[in-house]
């Protein structure tokens, strides 16, 4: 068995391009409404590494909520809008494994057999998850200016299984010399968000997030870091509801604060 060749194939390693002078930022609907600080931190970190960041004002949502709920036509209409808005050949940097997975892996299927198929494919090829872009294309080196801190990390399912970028997120965290990362016992298990799943199956979702919070508490960490706002909103919402005093932060905001001494 040609071990190395197969191994590389399993890892789904992309061929990364040279750093592009200009890059698009896709802010995601959740960051736009609920986590704008994280969005600005993600943009500022890119800019600090010499990237000219473009934020097209007509952008909105990747379309996943409708796509996963059985409203493909509505999802396609919203996705088509993004393809038009992000039309220049810049890389598209997405601070969410889930939205990135939608745009990278599901757009080609969503537009298969439609006049937009080729455009969707070209669009998908330009999509990068934010930490992936920082760790690979930009190969950033982060200087930790914060106090010693113990954190834990939540892997979003789509960053893990669709984008396969968790190692990049963690590699960035591990560059921070004063941060101790204590991993969750069930790191690869879903937190129970699942978009409309949390609403359509609230009892199952509640049981899942309850277990996730218990796992987080067992680490002894004072901060939970995650790369997806959906998971973050679910988990921090449950922690706050249950009176658990653990802060939740998006990776971008966390890294920006640590490297700027906040």
């Amino acid at each position: 068995m040609p071990f190395t060749e197969a191994k590389v194939k399993t890892m789904h390693v992309r061929n990364y391009p040279e750093q592009s002078e200009t890059a698009y930022f896709f802010g995601t609907c959740l960051m736009d409404a609920v986590y704008p600080d994280a969005g600005m931190a993600a943009i500022k970190l890119l800019k600090s590494k010499g990237v000219k960041v473009v934020f097209p004002p007509d952008q909105s949502c990747c379309g996943q909520p409708a796509y996963n709920s059985g409203f493909t036509r509505e999802a396609r209409a919203v996705a088509r809008k993004q393809i038009h808005v992000f039309s220049k050949p810049y890389p598209i940097i997405v601070p969410s494994g889930s939205c990135a997975g939608m745009m990278k892996h599901h757009y080609p299927a969503l537009f298969a057999g439609t006049p937009n198929e080729a455009a969707a494919r070209r669009f998908s090829e330009r999509v990068y998850e934010w930490s992936e872009y920082l760790a690979t294309v930009l190969a950033v080196e982060l200087e930790d200016r914060g106090d010693p801190l113990t954190i834990t990390w939540h892997s979003s399912c789509h960053a893990l299984r669709e984008m396969n970028v968790i190692r990049y997120s963690k590699a960035l965290i591990r560059q921070l010399k004063n941060v101790t990362l204590v991993e969750l016992e069930r790191e690869t298990e879903c937190c129970g968000f699942g978009g409309t799943f949390a609403i359509k199956q609230p009892a199952i979702s509640a049981a899942m997030v309850k277990d996730k919070v218990a796992d987080i508490r067992r680490t002894g960490a004072t901060t939970l870091v995650a790369g997806d706002c959906g998971c973050l909103m679910n988990i921090t919402g449950a922690m706050e509801h249950g009176g658990v005093a653990i802060a939740g932060k998006h990776l971008a905001e966390f890294l920006w604060e640590r490297t700027n001494g906040q």
Partner: protein, 476 residues
């Protein structure tokens, strides 16, 4: 059990989530199965190659399924196995009953078979005064307790040993209470030996049916399968029509994937390959072997290029073991024969979306099932497709009961969502309004469900769109 009229998914879920013992048993058992699988496939690269091989073999079989089934029938017949075709479960039950009647059989010893569960064979036979005796240890336990399997591989996985001890003590006459596993196994063995010796007819499932040789392959760990297929005078095998593979050489990779994924074994204790009834001059083996091939909606699945992938399934159950939903609610909550991720895509296609489409809502689309499936069934994609067919906005549904959820309210919500997300103006207004409302957002509808266990999301007063504009991010 697939009792359609009483299937209340919400009530089942609530009941399961309140049962702490059940959740503890499930978590413990699933952890063991997940660890064992990981241990038996230590080399990820090798496993990925094997999964691709498994997918290719099964795809090739599905592509030429009608021809392979005819070839299987021809070769089985040549070998002396009598082949019967059943379009639905009623026909399949009728065929089994007819065989039993012809041999004046009052009972039948059964090896583990999910297709026989699909047929609800035990109930059917009971109604016809024939006793079905489950001989797989897990099946034996739950039959004593009048339950159905909660898992397709380990049917009594929801029970711990104390519960089994209590069932044996209560349900088997003159059985002292014991929690000793060896003693419990010995009790089952003692009861079942007598039944094997007395039964005229034995039943089994089929893991793979090999078209080129007319061979039925059956894996098991307890030897009860071999007893059911060799001790009685008559052996009846039942299989779904997707179990046929082309060649004997297709079997090793599939077998490796099946046993590794199902129980984390390199190979099972018993691998039975049945090619003929007892030949003249042979001293043992059944005098008659029957094969019942069941369709029950499968050829309809085959007709759709995407849904056809449901038929790649080799029933290893590893998607159940890795599912964050299954581990919390257990198999019975799904209310039908096939639980877990595979059940979510199989059951609505068999029973109709109007009957079982709700199962497709019980997934966060986390992708754990698709990641481990030994034959690479894209289960999350098929769940998403079923959700789409449940609303059938464009009248293209192929699954029975398509469009059963179509309603104006939800349609309007998503149409509005779509409009807002294509109009920067509307989008901006919406976000600003939500930001202004802040914590005063009325907790109704979705937010009411959300806030049962979580605080409500805090919509920022200034959106990222506005911040980017105000803070000078380029907007070309």
């Amino acid at each position: 059990m697939g009792n359609k009229t009483t299937f209340d998914f919400d009530a089942n879920i609530d009941g399961a989530l309140k049962d702490d013992q059940l959740r503890k048993n499930l978590r413990k058992a699933m952890d063991i199965l997940v660890d064992k699988r990981r241990a038996v496939f230590p080399d990820t690269a090798y496993l990925e190659q094997l999964r691709s091989a498994g997918n290719a073999i099964k795809r090739r079989a599905l592509k030429q399924l009608p021809r392979l089934l005819e070839q299987l029938e021809a070769n089985c017949t040549k070998n002396g196995i009598q082949v019967h075709w059943a379009e639905d479960t009623a026909q399949a039950n009728g065929i089994v009953l007819e065989i039993l009647r012809r041999h004046d059989a009052r009972d039948i010893v059964k090896g583990k078979s999910m297709v026989s569960e699909e047929m609800h064979l035990n109930h059917f036979l009971e109604a016809n005064d024939i006793e079905a005796i489950e001989t797989d240890l897990g099946e034996f336990i739950i039959q004593l307790n009048h339950e159905t399997p909660s898992h397709i591989i380990v049917p009594a996985i929801h029970k711990n040993k104390d519960e089994v001890a209590a069932i044996f003590h209560d349900k088997i006459p003159d059985t002292p209470y014991t929690e000793n596993v060896e003693e419990l196994t010995a009790i089952a063995r003692r009861v079942l030996r007598k039944r094997f010796a007395a039964a005229k007819v034995g039943l089994s499932g089929v893991n793979f049916a090999i078209a080129e040789t007319g061979t039925l392959l059956l894996v098991e760990n307890e030897g009860n399968g071999r007893m059911c297929t060799t001790v009685p005078e008559v052996h009846v095998a039942v299989m779904g029509l997707e179990k046929v593979v082309e060649k004997l050489s297709d079997v090793p990779p599939l077998l490796r994937l099946l046993t590794g994924s199902a129980t984390g074994q390199m190979i099972t204790t018993y691998v039975n390959m049945i090619t003929a009834p007892r030949r003249s001059g042979e001293k043992d083996g059944p005098k008659e072997v029957h094969l019942v091939i069941l369709d029950n909606g499968r050829s309809r699945m085959l007709a759709d290029p995407e849904f056809r992938q449901t038929l790649l399934c080799i029933r290893c159950g590893t998607c159940l073991n890795h599912c964050p939903v299954y581990v919390r609610i257990g198999g019975h909550a799904y209310g039908h024969v096939y639980p877990g991720p595979i059940g979510k895509i199989l059951t609505p296609q068999m029973e109709g979306l109007d009957q079982a489409g709700v199962l497709a809502t019980a997934s966060s689309l986390c992708g754990a099932c698709g990641e481990v499936c030994p034959v690479r069934i894209p289960i999350p994609d098929l769940i998403r497709r079923l959700r789409n067919e449940s609303y059938d906005q464009d009248g293209s549904a192929v699954v029975k009961g398509g469009g059963y959820k179509k309603n104006l309210a939800e349609t309007l919500v998503w149409k509005g969502w779509s409009l807002a997300n294509r109009s920067p103006l509307l989008n901006g207004i919406g976000t600003r309004l939500a930001g202004k409302a802040g914590k005063r957002m009325p907790k109704v509808g979705p937010l009411k469900k959300w806030t049962r266990v979580r605080t409500s999301p805090q919509v920022a007063r200034t959106s990222l769109h506005e911040r980017a504009r105000n803070e000078g991010v380029k907007d070309e």
